[in-house]
């Protein structure tokens, strides 16, 4: 026991006040009349007896009151182990990210977690958390060892990317609900890539103590992995040297310089093998060309013969569909020959898919059937034949995609086909052209994994002309520097309409002269045709869209997903209602979307998991908030909550002081009543 503010104990001297009052109080009792003093004799009490402590119980209560108040201010506390309190919640987080598949990391981590659970006090509640691509809380706060042990045993290594920031966010939400102090024990390989760029994002609440149990404290073992691949999504001519090729990057983590063999495997057969020299801790790029695939979907992978301690990341999967080139209908104004030229050239230059552009003047579209085209482009077409416009609307409702570019003709008429609400006004300033001010790089047609500071190349484009269109509830993917919406995506039925508020003619802007135009056309084409949304390769824990959100729930065609094991993870209800699906495992997923499109997707782990380098001890100490304690020391502490904690007693003192006050009041009033009776 101790005192947090011992200097307040000087107030004990105030105990002399009630003692003085009781000891030295004068006898102020009024005289008492008698008939005669005939038989009385004078008697005086001695000073000692006169000063006797009167009303000892009252004096005791008053002294106790002062003593308790003084003690409350001195703030006494008890030191006791939190085990005895068992009031702290034990949070056990077991890392099941992809990197835990390396060696015996996951088995070691699970064993340590079970050992910690066994050492738990019987009454202490615990909660199990699985840290993977998603942080999953597997149990409610429980004291039952059997249920908790079962929850830990039920955790298996996953393919996702662990993120300590996400773990901290979940723990914060848990403690906000329960407001119970707790100890978080993290069993992980403490991968450096799992820590968010800003360590503040991994900060835990103040009432949570962090204990780190690293299962791999040594520097990461050498590991070679396929870092990235750039395969075509669709291929029409395997002999085309421009399109029929796969570019792969082999990266070594904590590796010496070595010559590695990389193979291209298509449908289980090794098609080509390359030797590549990978520098120490560096990367090497290689290319497989051509890519001989048959018609239909092919399961392909690029594999490096690494012979390292982490073979799970030696291959990278992707799917390629060989088909005839898809046709694209490009509708333009009669006098505009520049737009189809720029657009078709850009589409031909794109390597991901193969399209053939059919350009036609708007007035000649009367007899065309849009459903025969992968998508339709309306370039500065103010008016369309009504039959074609209706066919086009039905085409979009059935899942088709339309890209609309607005030019001067559209501005003059003010009407936009398929777009409710016309052009409000026209922004035109040749002297001071506008630039792109805001780009949503998460939008599929603009997607860039790591955009650079110049807005991914969009910053250099100059816009002399732009129509101002009210976006309404549609998604604005790009804006000009003055805030004018430049690229708007509006879902309609199963399909979508993408509106570009300027033109492709190199007159209203200089976009066709910039490299970003090719990438934009390529991605927009794949997005509108639906090819890029599903095909190729994806990362674990990414989502695919099974149906459009505009369609009423339950009225669409059921979607179908077949996972790498050949199982159907969707229930009948999910197949009819689910809008998106999370790809949780490495392997090939076969997907049939609600609009009837059939795709094959190769799912790969996040390549950040291939870097097995653990966090430095200083970083771990900084995160745990124990700068003087090494992670190894923390890992040795397998008795949850064994250290001492201070339990403050000041409010107990205040409660007792209150009780003493009440008792003193009652007793004092009783004594005073007695004195009145004696009068």
């Amino acid at each position: 026991m101790g005192f947090l503010a011992p200097w307040f104990l000087a107030g004990v001297a105030a105990l002399g006040i009630p003692v003085y009052v009781h000891l030295l109080r004068h006898n102020v009792r009024p005289p008492r009349p008698v008939s005669s003093l005939m038989f009385f004799e004078r008697g005086t009490q001695s000073s000692t007896r006169h000063r006797r402590l009167k009303h000892l119980l009252l004096l005791t209560l008053r002294c106790a009151l002062i003593l308790l108040v003084v003690l409350a201010f001195a703030n006494p506390f008890l030191r006791r182990s939190s085990t005895s309190a068992s009031g702290r919640l034990l949070l056990i987080a077991l890392d099941r990210s992809f990197s835990m598949r390396a060696g015996t990391r996951f088995a070691d981590a699970k064993q340590q977690a079970l050992a910690l659970l066994a050492a738990k006090a019987p009454a202490q509640k615990a909660q199990i958390i699985a840290l993977g691509g998603q942080v999953e809380v597997l149990s409610q706060p429980l004291a039952d060892q059997a249920q908790l042990r079962s929850a830990i045993n039920g955790i298996s290594p996953g393919d996702g990317h662990g993120d300590f920031g996400e773990l901290a966010r979940v723990v914060r939400s848990l403690t906000e609900e329960a407001r119970t102090p707790g100890d978080l024990h993290v069993f992980s390989d403490m991968q450096r890539s799992a820590m968010p760029p800003n360590i503040v994002d991994a900060t835990l609440p103040g009432n949570i103590r962090l204990f780190l149990h690293a299962v791999a404290t040594a520097p990461g073992s050498p590991n070679w992995a396929i870092q990235t691949i750039e395969p075509p999504v669709e291929l029409s001519d395997p002999k085309n040297p421009v399109r029929s090729r796969v570019r792969a990057v082999v990266t070594g983590f904590n590796t010496p310089a070595a010559s590695k063999t990389v193979s291209l495997i298509v449908n289980g057969a090794t098609i080509a093998t390359r030797k590549v020299d990978v520098p120490a801790n560096g990367r090497a790029t290689l290319e497989f060309a051509p890519l001989p695939v048959a018609y239909g979907w092919s399961r392909c992978e690029v594999r490096v013969e690494a012979a390292d301690g982490f073979p799970a990341d030696d291959a990278s999967l992707f799917a390629v569909q060989r088909s005839d080139p898809q046709r694209v209908l490009f509708v333009h104004a009669a006098g505009d020959n520049r737009s189809p030229l720029y657009f078709s050239n850009a589409l031909d230059s794109a390597a991901q898919a193969s399209y053939s552009v059919q350009s036609i003047v708007a007035e000649q579209t009367t007899d065309l059937d849009p459903s025969r085209y992968a998508f339709v482009v309306l370039s500065d077409t103010a008016t369309l034949p009504s039959i074609f416009e209706h066919a086009l609307a039905q085409y979009v409702q059935d899942g088709g995609g339309v890209l609309i570019a607005l030019g001067p003709s559209s501005a003059r008429s003010g009407h936009i086909p398929l777009w409710a609400g016309g052009i409000r006004t026209l922004r035109q300033d040749k002297a001071d052209p506008m630039t792109v001010g805001q780009v949503d790089f998460s939008y599929p047609a603009l997607e860039q994994p790591q955009p650079v500071r110049d807005e991914g190349g969009w910053d250099e484009t100059k816009f002399l002309y732009s129509a101002v269109v009210a976006p309404g509830p549609a998604r604005v993917a790009m804006r000009l520097s003055d805030g004018t919406p430049l690229l708007i995506d509006r879902p309609m039925g199963q399909g979508r309409v993408v509106l570009f508020a300027s033109g492709f003619d190199n007159l209203t802007n200089d976009l066709p002269l910039h490299p970003v135009f090719v990438a934009f056309v390529d991605r927009a084409a794949r997005y509108l045709s639906g090819t890029g949304e599903f095909g190729g390769s994806r990362l674990v824990d990414s989502f695919i869209q099974l149906r459009s959100g505009m369609q009423p729930v339950g009225q669409s065609t059921p979607a179908e997903v077949i996972d790498p094991d050949g199982h159907r993870p969707l229930s009948l209800s999910d197949a009819r209602n689910l809008q998106s699906f999370r790809l949780q495992r490495v392997g090939f997923y076969r997907v049939r979307a609600a609009n009837g499109h059939d795709f094959l997707i190769g799912v790969n782990p996040d390549r950040r998991e291939s870097d097995l380098e653990p966090l430095s001890p200083n970083a771990l100490a900084l995160w745990a908030g124990t700068s003087g304690k090494q992670p190894g020391e923390a890992a040795d502490t397998l008795t949850p909550g064994a250290e001492k904690q201070h339990v403050s007693l000041w409010w107990w003192m205040m409660l007792l002081a209150l009780a003493a006050t009440i008792a003193e009041t009652v007793l004092a009033s009783r004594y005073m009543g007695t004195q009145r009776d004696e009068l």
């Binding site: 006898n27 008698v34 008939s35 038989f39 009385f40 004078r42 005086t44 006169h50």
Partner: protein, 296 residues
């Protein structure tokens, strides 16, 4: 049959002395089963042989004529005796530890005796109120309205001054010409020898004297929780007294005082009765009259 007595505090609630006296007297008389020998009247009691020195006026000459023997006729009472109550109205009589003060209790007692004498026995009754002097006098009489006058005299007897038996009893001689019964009601805070010495002349003049010694229970058995300053009601003198003295020495002294007064009074043929103000008045009166009837 259980006898229920009247609590003095209940009597204190009765404002009319007439009603109070009637309540008391009718109560204890009804409980006595009607005794013809009961009362203050001097009725025939016995014959006693004459011895030299006896008053010749008490010789039954008729019997002497018939038998030539000289006998004295002893009377237990006379039919028209005279009762005079001497009420001490000094300041000490106003002391009260409870609801009934000593002067109130003395008034109740006197009123009851007046009622008994006048209404029951047709005797003459008078009142002398005194402290250090005679403050009020109502001549003994049996006239109509005498009882009311006596009650009015009792009402007027408010305590004041201090008691002085010597000077007061010197004046009694001037008022008590005819033999009778003199009842003195006081707290007798005086030397017993001085009290008896002052009263003895009444006895010598043929009066039958009765002393009713009225004390408060706190005067007989005082209780002090702590040392206290006591004030004499008659002299205003102050004195600090400790509880131990009040519980030991004082009690011994007051007991000795009571015993001395009783002994000296009875030694002089004076009847003595101690009354505490918490005793039921009818019970006390009945006990006393029983004892008087028995000749003790």
């Amino acid at each position: 049959m259980e006898q229920r007595f009247l609590d003095p505090t209940v009597l204190a609630g009765i404002s009319s002395l007439d009603l109070l006296a009637k309540t008391v007297v009718d109560g204890f008389v009804a409980g006595l089963h009607r005794s013809p020998d009961f009362g203050f009247s001097q009725e025939f009691a016995e014959y006693r042989a004459y011895v030299p020195g006896d008053d010749l006026r008490h010789v039954d000459w008729n019997l002497f004529a018939r038998t030539e023997r000289c006998y004295l006729k002893r009377y237990r009472g006379e039919t028209n005796t005279q009762i005079t109550i001497l009420l001490d109205a000094s300041n000490s009589m106003q002391y009260a530890s409870g609801r009934v003060s000593k002067i109130d209790y003395a008034r109740f007692l006197a009123a009851s005796l007046f009622y008994l004498a006048i209404r029951r026995q047709r005797d003459a009754a008078g009142l002398i109120v005194f402290d250090d002097d005679v403050r009020g006098y109502i001549r003994p009489s049996t006239r109509p309205g005498q009882l009311a006058r006596l009650f009015a005299g009792l009402e007027r007897a408010e305590p004041r001054a201090k008691t002085d038996f010597t000077s007061a009893l010197n004046h009694f001689q001037n008022f008590l010409h005819r033999r009778g019964i003199a009842i003195i009601i006081s707290d007798f805070y005086e030397d017993p020898a001085a009290v008896v010495r002052a009263i003895e002349p009444l006895r010598f003049r043929g009066h039958e004297v009765v002393l009713f010694h009225v004390l408060d229970p706190q005067e007989i058995r005082p209780t002090l929780n702590s040392s206290a300053i006591l004030i004499d009601l008659e002299t205003d003198r102050r004195m600090e007294v400790i509880p131990e003295y009040a519980q030991t020495t004082y009690r011994a002294k007051i007991d000795a005082h009571i015993d001395a007064l009783r002994t000296r009074a009875r030694g002089c043929g004076i009847d003595y009765q101690l009354l505490a103000t918490d005793q039921p008045l009818d019970a006390v009166l009945r006990e006393y009259l029983y004892r008087r009837q028995a000749g003790n």
